[in-house]
Amino acid sequence: MLESVLKFIGHIEILPAVRTVAIALAGFVVARLVSGAVIRVLGKRLDRQQLPILRRILYYGILLLFLMSALRELGFDLSVLVGAAGILTVAVGFASQTSASNLISGLFLIAERPFAVGDTIKVGEFTGEVLAIDLLSIKLRTFDNLYVRIPNEQMIKTEVVNLTKFPIRRVDIAVGVAYREDLGLVKAMLLGLADRHPLCLEEPRPIVYFAGFGESSIDLKLLVWTRRENHLELWNSLHEQIKLEFDRNAVEIPFPNRTIHPAALTEPFPVRVVAGAVREETGRT
């Protein structure tokens, strides 16, 4: 038994095997050094998404070249491998259409840059901060701290709203007032609130927009601008202040109301709901 093993080992040429291992190890080292050096040189010119992708491409590309040299050293005929790889590629291609689509979409997203890591975006039903833009998908953190993975193919095909692209943002506040109110006075109140609010920008100027004659109220919209980081705070505080100001000035925000006429020529009759009333016919309340 021992003699057979020794005889087998004796047939293996030691020197090429050592060269193969050396080439492979050198490949790991060179790939690491070169990819690291290129990243350091280009670090300031590329962003946080492009750098790791470029690093991986360089590392695995150089490593592949060294591994192919190592295989040739061992005596493998690479043309056979290339042929097999071609057939395998077709098979893998059919199987991984979605992944390939995601990969290509990811490259387009990185080149186009509609958003960056750190931006807040809205995709479909999800709104959140972009944590990573990877080759196959992007990762979001929603405001209630959920982790969402969205394939890049979906990002390319659907509308993406970037909420933090520009430094300022508009806040639209819908307000309905009773038909009997003086619209000029209401408008002056709303614009006065915007003027006094420290978070409202002076330019672009706040506007009160007439939205329409609603079913139960006259619908207005107060349009004010603010820095994007103050959007939520302004939204909350302006609603509060509008309510307080309207209460102070006895301006009615009406509930939905309906007027019922029994017939065209008669006066409308009042409807009063009495709790606990019993109907004699059915004996039920």
């Binding site: 520009f166 430094p167 300022i168 420290p198 409202c200 920008l201 330019e203 672009p204």
Partner: protein
């Protein structure tokens, strides 16, 4: 304007020494500020009076007191490894451009120029003695934020300020919480220049105090050589001629001011 104690500077800024357990109290325009020395810590608090607006000429007051807080709005607290008695207080110009709107829009005809006086709000800076960076700074009257640019996508955040845009020679009301900038506007094209708002790059300007105590910046020249909003900016060297016997109080926040072409005039948003 007065300093209640004979050992306090003649202006509301300067070098101050406050013993442990004592305080200094400022009233400058609409703002009241108290600085308390509590041994190894300083406590500051400030508030703005609602009934004193930015146009007010109430002047300033500076008094010494004990460590009892006069009010507790906007408290700040600074802790040191050892007791600190000395502080430097300085006025400073705004940390962003100031968009000034003349109370009445004015037009400069073609090939004409005008020298206008614009005033901008000042900041109150508190520093440890001998340290260049301020420990704490606050605008004396808080100007509104505003946006200045051709659209809501492109532009810069700035402060909004109203001004009378007085001409040279008109009497200037004494306001210790504002600095005056002489702005020479040269309209070198064949179209009138309507000035509804103008962007003053105050971060590039220094602050000087004249003999009468009024604060000035360098004279700024905005030269309009093409249609549109852009203008070549030129900042004068040293205090303006209108500031008599002026001395430098503080240099610019941003010293890089050569060859600047900036968006100085803006039409209404479209």
């Amino acid at each position: 304007m007065k300093a209640e104690e004979h050992d306090l500077p003649r202006q509301w800024w300067g070098d101050f020494a406050v013993a442990d357990g004592e305080s200094l109290y400022w009233q400058i325009g609409p703002m009241q500020l108290q600085w308390v020395n509590a041994g190894s810590q300083w406590r500051c608090a400030y508030r703005r009076l609602a009934d004193v607006d930015d146009e007010s000429t109430v002047g300033w007051q500076l008094t010494r007191g004990d460590a009892t807080p006069a009010f507790d709005e906007n408290p700040q607290r600074f802790v040191f490894s050892q007791p600190m008695r000395h502080a430097t207080v300085l006025p400073a110009l705004a940390d962003r451009s100031v968009i000034t709107r003349p109370t009445t829009a004015l037009t400069i005809p073609p090939r004409q120029s005008a020298l206008l006086l614009f005033s901008t709000p000042l900041w109150f800076q508190l520093r440890c003695a001998g340290v260049s960076q301020p420990l704490f700074e606050v605008p004396i009257s808080r100007p509104s934020d505003t946006w200045f640019g051709p659209s809501t996508c492109e532009g810069e955040l700035a402060y909004a300020s109203r001004t009378h845009a007085r001409l040279q020679g008109e009497a200037l009301p004494p306001r210790p919480h504002r600095a005056v900038t002489p702005v020479r506007i040269e309209n070198r094209i064949d179209a009138p220049l309507l000035i509804e708002r103008i962007s003053l790059p105050v971060t590039l300007l220094s602050l000087f105090v004249a003999a009468d105590g009024m604060l000035w910046t360098e004279e700024v020249t905005l030269r309009r050589e093409q249609a549109g909003e852009m203008a070549a900016l030129q900042v004068g060297q040293g205090a303006p001629l209108l500031a008599q016997a002026a001395t430098l109080v503080q240099g610019p926040r941003n010293a890089n001011r050569s060859g600047i072409l900036l968006r100085a005039f803006a039409a209404l948003f479209h």
